[in-house]
Symmetry: D2
Subunit: 142 residues, 4 copies
Amino acid sequence: MQEIRQRVAENFARQGLMRTLGAALELVEDGEVHISMPFSSQLSQQLGYVHAGAVTSIVDSACGYAGLTRAPAGHDIVTAEFKTNFMRPAIGERFLAVGRVVNAGRSLAVCTGEVRAYTANSVEFKVVALMQATMVFVATER
Amino acid sequence: MQEIRQRVAENFARQGLMRTLGAALELVEDGEVHISMPFSSQLSQQLGYVHAGAVTSIVDSACGYAGLTRAPAGHDIVTAEFKTNFMRPAIGERFLAVGRVVNAGRSLAVCTGEVRAYTANSVEFKVVALMQATMVFVATER
Amino acid sequence: MQEIRQRVAENFARQGLMRTLGAALELVEDGEVHISMPFSSQLSQQLGYVHAGAVTSIVDSACGYAGLTRAPAGHDIVTAEFKTNFMRPAIGERFLAVGRVVNAGRSLAVCTGEVRAYTANSVEFKVVALMQATMVFVATER
Amino acid sequence: MQEIRQRVAENFARQGLMRTLGAALELVEDGEVHISMPFSSQLSQQLGYVHAGAVTSIVDSACGYAGLTRAPAGHDIVTAEFKTNFMRPAIGERFLAVGRVVNAGRSLAVCTGEVRAYTANSVEFKVVALMQATMVFVATER
């Protein structure tokens, strides 16, 4: 896992969008990755809540990295498609995207993810978004 | 349409994320809205291409505004869910999200969208992402 | 729950497709419904396994009935949309669709479901399909 | 195309579910396939309309065969996942599923489909369902 954690951390550091969104890598375990994002008005939709696109961005990355922990040797991972339900407005001071691998085959991985909204100093959360995604393992070009 | 165009433009101006992504409203017609976004390394995924989340953000907004042009009086629109396929890496100098209403009922609208990638000075494009989305009309609180 | 169980059972009995597929209602709890379906060559795709459409049919019904257990009084439920991943061929002697409510609001419910494949006399199963669905509560016409 | 048409027709004839649903292959062109299905109470949901699962089954097959017309030599096709929106009740005397390839890569194809409902003797139709699907090309085992 140490090698995978380092690989995920280096990969995450290259994602300009994660930096732009203020996102941080919080946990990398076998088949599960967490990414956090603090609230910012720079991420808002028209009502001031966090835009579905920002919510989706962090849970897509969390799902992708969860899949990467199960990638065959010499393979990277890219998103083939995802579907996200938005169950309530993304209101909170901090958001945590949790991505998990449900099944990893030779060429495809199926992942599920959720985004949790926290208010200040709270350990309780509300799930604001639910993702089901298909990732593709692609051989690393050398 | 003039009233709707103004309403969409004002709504768009309140979306902090669109500003953060460098996105601009390009066209508002009945049932169809276009949003552009120039390439920036601040939107990148690990390979330097535009992140699926940024691509999704602009086409979600385009679909939502397309739906808004068909909203019943006194109603706003929010995204219930969307599904996006990523057909090739989002490589380009400029991206255009095209959102269209397929069906608008009393409470739900179904929209489809695509994101087109353009290279410099080109009129030709490649479709990098395809969205199918469900939007909900919500009565405006007063 | 007894009233809801009866309502679900009566509703299920009216679904001609469930009868055609050989499906049976197995469990109705608050927010969770199970539907079983034995293997039959009448449900096959080209390789002799169960067709994705049959698999989807039972998990759609399971999700819908799970949502129905949370419907506001005087409301029925219909499927707005679903997304299903097929993780492995639907090979087995018996299939069980498990539908669960993740979130039920005033007008929409988000459900997840899975279809489990069992071989003869086995208690072990493999998950062959994963669904994420949006259901709409509609006022019963009187 | 003649060889592909014959391959699709033979493959379709092996799908037990298509026979069970009363479905028929109507058109096979490069990248586009049509499948029809007459109304039957054996396909119904609780209100007597055609069940979302039956609607989905024919458009899944139509999308799959559309993808098959673009499969690399020596490859079959299976459904990785699909997402279907149901825009209105499936009321009609005859249904036609239209599946089209949007993009075919080396390992994946993205397809879109719709299901049209016709009343008796009518050439006009209403689109009752919209699909966006991901298909996988798999090497034929020999």
